[in-house]
Amino acid sequence: MIKPLTRNQMAWRAAQDVADRSYVNLGIGIPVLVANYIPRERSVMLQSENGILGIGPAPAKADIDPYFVDAGGQKVSLAHGGMLTDSVGAFTMITGGHIDVTLLGAFQVGYNGDFANWDAKLPNKGPLVGGAMDLAAGAREVRLIMAHTTREGEPRLVAACTYPLTARGRASRIYTDLAVVDVTPSGFVVREMVEGMSAGALAAKSGAPLAFASDCKTLAAPDL
């Protein structure tokens, strides 16, 4: 029986790749959970596009300061060495290439690194682009955290995105509940798969050809 990773385990796996002394922007959804799993010995500055550089741990109820929220509207604290700026300052960090890595959610990603994460074309919901396109174009590296398939089992790793694009060719690594996949000049390359998953079974859940790294590893995460 194959056990897909939980949301927390996907966030944990992505967190293991966040480098020491890096500046990181986490998108809403699973990506913000990454903050909980960055190894303690690594010093990382988390940026929020509403003007916070250096988000700290979630504050205890008694310590909540209503003036401090992140991009998703969650109450946050400021880390040691953190600072505040306005939207122009925050987006200068983002579009100017000063953010080392952004971790974002996505509906679909193409084997060429195109991805879609801002408009699901829902019949009763307006569009929301927020800072997604700015991060996609400007961060030095764009990594995605997403379920490998839709709830109906349709692939999210595809030959060509059908949802409106966020950016072309910018995704470099994908963490799914089944695998860690790199986007390379020759397409998707699987680096890790969950235990018991075969190459054929993963390919069947993907909408574009997969190559497998010669040292393809088991994707494992602690119980979280």
């Binding site: 003007g51 003036y67 505040l84 700026t85 579009t95 009763n124 396109m133 409106p164």
Partner: protein
């Protein structure tokens, strides 16, 4: 003698008229000039173009302004409400009764910055190859594609800040600054509600928005 303090919201909004473009600061309910927005509704002006990051969550001032039928068009990065219930904007938009110009959040901030700084626009890599680049001039610089984004200006900017003085100097707190400082630069008249209105001048080393960009300051105690 410089004295930009006003006694009432009506004085702060004097001169606002039908068809005006109005910039409203705020991100996720922080830094939103709720008092001035309620006063704007009371003036009865209509046909407004609202320039704000979001089209308004349930119960927000912008949602009330839209629900009152005063807004013709909104320029924003987010037009989606949270939760299942549609926002007043979403209802009006799906009914074809209100216009929307959706802009990536960093381009939104930078367009306002261009407006405030006297520039006609700028070329950005953000949104290249996406639906939000439709109709925009594309140009290649140094091997990368960029689109032309044009400046945004307004008749009025309405902001909320933590502190102000009679010179119009402003200080923000926490994540409250967001679009406030840049919007202050890009409107013919900038009206600000502040939690604390100082009799004396603010410490010049800590000022976020210089008084040259501010026309009217109203004391409205009450948090973020």
């Amino acid at each position: 003698m410089f004295d930009k303090r006003v006694e009432t919201a009506a004085e702060a909004l004097a001169g606002v008229k039908d068809g005006d473009a109005i910039m409203l600061s705020g991100f996720q309910r922080i830094g939103v000039p709720d008092h001035l927005i309620m006063a704007l509704i009371e003036t009865g002006v209509k046909g407004l173009t609202v320039i704000a990051n979001s089209t308004g969550a349930h119960g927000s001032g912008i949602a009330k302004l839209v629900a009152a039928g005063r807004v013709e068009r909104i320029v924003a990065s987010s037009a989606r409400g949270q939760g299942a219930e549609m926002t007043p904007f979403e209802m009006a938009w799906f009914a074809g009764k209100i216009g929307l110009e959706l802009v990536p959040q960093g381009s939104f901030a930078e367009r306002i910055r261009a407006g405030g700084a006297g520039h006609a626009g700028f070329y950005t890599p953000v949104a290249v190859g996406t639906d939000l680049a439709a109709g925009k001039e594309e140009r290649r610089f140094g091997g990368r594609d960029y689109i032309l984004e044009t400046a945004l200006t307004a008749d009025f900017a309405m902001l909320r800040a933590e502190r102000g003085d009679r010179y119009g100097n402003l200080v923000f707190r926490g994540s409250q600054a967001n679009f406030g400082p840049v919007m202050a630069t890009a409107a013919k008249i900038t009206a600000v509600e502040v939690n604390h209105l100082e009799e004396d001048a603010l410490d010049p080393h800590g000022i976020h928005t210089p008084g040259i960009f501010v026309d009217r300051v109203l004391h409205v105690p009450g948090g973020a």
